[in-house]
């Protein structure tokens, strides 16, 4: 794309954005605002990223001479800003944290640098060490790799071992959802102010839809079949959503329609819930030094029904914008931040439980890490390795993704459907009505693909 057309597009985007009272694309059409020795990085404000920010000047810039200018934003804002910057190829940011949802879509639109050559040439980086499902999820349709993981996660079931023991219950290593529902019923109210389970109900494709879709997968449902027919009103899909909604309404947290990851984490830490099905990243907070429930949590694989496994797959990864002129410097930064040396640096300076894990198999062989994350590291690794984004359910899928459907429209579709589901969790409408409305939305999206 020529510089002038990029400039026009960006200027128009600026105009649109300004017209809608939002700011974006403030680098108005530059072809990469940073020079050779400095790169601009846009990233999410998760704890591991802020640690990276603290360590960069001393351990990266001093060695390489490459200045790194960070822009750090909360998840929702960072997604918005990244999609604006990359879609317009304004080149303001050389590197951004994108996930396995965005990577193939951005790659398809030619918004990302391929990393194949760097991976082939950089022997120190040890690309073979990257966990396979993660690496595959960052590969474009053309077979090239477009991003490298900073950390990876799956989902699993967390439960209070002390409470289970007290009530004479034993959690199997690989529970089924039916068993989990039974446990939830038995434990609900067994302790003062303790609910059986916490499940997300907050609207948002990254909130309720993520765990719910893994339940749908293992109940035999799918958003779309191989012929791009929407399947949200199929009996399996309905049964799964009915199960989820009933479980959370009967034995879940109060205010479930407004509870997301943060609220459930809070409930678990406060001892208000006996079980929690969510991201493996939650374990770090539950086992943190100041956590009141530290050492009282057991971790088992994501509950299943019809499939072997049902955990999701997610990674925050580094992507290099196509419009960036500093791809080489960007790679130097990425290979440092995602490399084994950096993990050791974090382990030694900040503690091994803080290591951005879930991406390299060597991390899991490290005795220091094994000791610090003893309660959950094996379950986490297995969950990531068992996640299959190509075929997470019982039938063939037209697009990759475990807890999402890997098409650009899903961010919007998932959000709209989540609002319907949230309405069902709140008791405003029946699951059937929620899914009938959702089916119409999904059908509109599928129409484009059926051609």
């Amino acid at each position: 794309m020529s510089l002038s057309s990029r400039r026009t597009r960006c200027a128009l985007a600026v105009a649109t954005a300004a017209g809608m009272l939002v700011t974006s694309c403030s680098g108005a059409g530059g072809s990469g605002s940073s020079d050779g020795d400095s790169i601009n990085v846009l990233m999410v404000n998760n704890p591991q990223m802020t640690q990276l920010q603290q360590l960069t000047a001393e351990h990266f810039t001093e060695e390489t001479g490459i200045e790194v200018n960070f822009t750090v934003l909360p998840e929702n804002e960072v997604r918005d800003k990244i999609s604006q910057d990359f879609a317009n190829q304004s080149g303001q940011y050389d590197v951004a944290t994108i996930s396995n949802y965005e990577t193939p879509i951005y790659a398809g639109n030619d918004w990302l640098h391929t990393l194949d050559d760097y991976l082939a040439d950089d022997a120190d980086y040890a690309v073979d060490d990257i966990l396979e499902p993660i690496q595959t999820s960052l590969t474009g349709e053309d077979g090239s790799v477009y991003a490298q993981p900073f950390y990876g996660e799956s989902s699993f079931l967390m439960y209070r071992t002390d409470v289970f023991e007290e009530h004479g219950l034993t959690m199997p290593d690989r529970p089924t959802w039916t068993e989990v529902a039974d446990f939830a019923a038995q434990i609900d109210g067994a302790e003062a102010d303790m609910k059986g389970i916490c499940l997300r109900g907050l609207p948002g494709w990254g909130e309720v839809i993520a765990p719910l879709t893994t339940v749908v997968n293992t109940f035999g449902g799918t958003w779309f079949d191989a012929d791009w027919e929407a399947r949200l009103t199929d009996p399996e899909f309905v049964e799964a959503v009915q199960f989820y909604v009933e479980l959370v309404r009967e034995h879940g947290e109060s205010g479930a329609a407004q509870a997301g990851y943060a609220e459930c984490l809070n409930n678990m830490v406060q001892g208000n819930t006996a079980m929690w099905y969510d991201a493996t990243a939650g374990a770090g907070s539950l086992e943190a030094e100041d956590s009141p429930v530290r050492g009282q949590i057991g971790y088992v694989a994501a509950p299943v029904e019809q499939t072997e496994s049902s955990g999701w797959l997610y990674t925050w990864a580094w992507g290099v914008q196509k419009a960036s002129d500093n791809a080489d410097a960007a790679w130097e930064f990425i290979s440092w931040a995602s490399g084994t040396e950096y993990e050791e640096l974090v382990g030694e300076t900040l503690g091994w439980e803080n290591v951005p894990a879930g991406k390299r198999s060597s991390t899991y062989d490290n005795p220091d890490y094994q000791q610090a994350a003893g309660a959950f590291y094996e379950v986490t690794r297995n969950a990531i390795n068992e996640a299959d984004p190509i075929s997470p359910g019982v039938q063939e899928r037209p697009a990759p993704g475990v807890q999402f459907v890997g098409i650009p429209e899903f961010a919007d579709l998932g959000t709209r459907v989540s609002q319907e589901i949230s309405g069902a969790i709140a008791g405003q409408q029946s699951v059937e009505d929620a899914l009938a409305a959702s089916q119409r939305l999904a059908d509109e999206v599928a129409e484009r693909y059926r051609g």
Binding site: G19, P203, G204, G255, Q258, Q419, S422
Partner: protein
């Protein structure tokens, strides 16, 4: 003043070219320093809107960069034709009307009370205004977590305490899930009542006290004074409050986004624009929806400006 000006530049002034040139030069010497500001104003306000207008006529989804095309009024068709968007229009109207009317009534009651003299009036006034000074998103978060939360929120906490006192188990409603739109409305009414109160209080204090005294001497009761003197006097201020409030509440995003995330039938137009723009990346549809909101707001604003100018006229004639 006007007469003198008229005499000086009026029709009797010689119409020679030199004089005309001089006066034009004088006019430009006053205008010229303002020009950069004017150009800047046009650049930053009108160009973006013009661009939004243009984009609203295109199929333009950032995720499909190769499929951009001129589609005329298709996006407007989509906005007006889609059920969820039509519902958003209805929700916006309902939300705005409810919040404006209730906060006006409450503001009126508060203004009438605060118009009286009592010890600590200044302090009470300041405290009453505080909700309006809070950042909207902070206010929404406060309502969501500190007040409405079914587990640790103040409302349910008070209910439980009340139940304990009188020996019964108080219900613990899940406020936002059970009454979502009402929850949004209550938080907005809480924020906007002080604004209405401020405007109406200003109106009340501009009322000459002799009128009420004279009416009282003539034997009018409190209600009659309120009905026939205060209320007519406040009419303009009530209108002004209603219109300014409407303009702002039509645009409310924070409360809807924070409290319900647009779910449970609370999605209003600004939320829909946000969703179309950021999540669907559909610049065309988002622009069309934005243009419609701007047109609606302009319609309200025109009325608002009329009311303001008539207020000034009234004040002027009184002075």
């Amino acid at each position: 003043m006007t007469t003198t000006a008229h005499d000086a530049v009026g029709p009797r002034r010689p119409q020679g070219t030199a004089a005309r040139g001089r006066s034009r030069a004088r006019a430009w010497s006053t205008r010229a320093p303002l020009l950069p500001a004017l150009v800047f104003l046009i650049l930053v306000t009108q160009l973006p809107f013009a661009a939004t207008l243009v984009i609203s006529l295109f199929e333009w989804n950032a995720l499909y960069p190769d499929e951009r095309a001129f589609t005329g009024f298709d996006n407007y068709d989509t906005v007006l034709g889609e059920a969820s968007l039509r519902r958003a229009v209805f929700t916006t109207a309902l939300l705005t009307a409810t919040v404006v009317i209730v906060s006006l009534l409450l503001g009126l009651a508060l203004a009438l009370l605060l118009d009286r003299r009592f010890r600590g009036r200044g302090l009470v006034r300041t405290m009453t205004i505080t909700p309006f000074l809070l950042v909207p998103v902070a206010a929404a978060l406060m309502w969501k977590h500190l007040l409405f939360n079914p587990e640790y929120g103040l409302l349910n906490g008070m209910l439980a305490k009340f139940g304990d006192l009188f020996g019964f188990t108080a219900p613990q409603p899940d406020w936002i899930s059970e009454m979502p739109l009402l929850a949004v409305e209550v938080s907005l009414i809480w924020q906007w009542t002080p604004f209405m109160m401020l405007i109406l209080l200003a109106g009340l204090q501009s009322r000459p006290p002799e009128l009420a005294e004279a009416a009282r001497i003539d034997g009018a009761g409190d209600w009659q004074i309120f009905r026939y003197l205060t209320l007519p006097h406040l009419r303009r201020y009530l209108e002004l409050g209603a219109l300014l409030g409407s303009i702002y509440i039509v645009q409310n995003f924070d409360a809807v986004f924070t409290l319900t995330g647009g779910a449970l039938d609370t999605a209003n137009l600004p939320y829909v624009i946000y969703r179309e723009f950021y999540q669907a990346q559909d610049y065309g549809v988002a622009s069309a929806a934005g243009v419609l909101v701007v047109l609606g707001s302009i319609a309200i604003a025109v009325f608002a400006l009329r009311v303001v100018s008539s207020l000034f006229r009234e004040e002027g004639s009184r002075g």
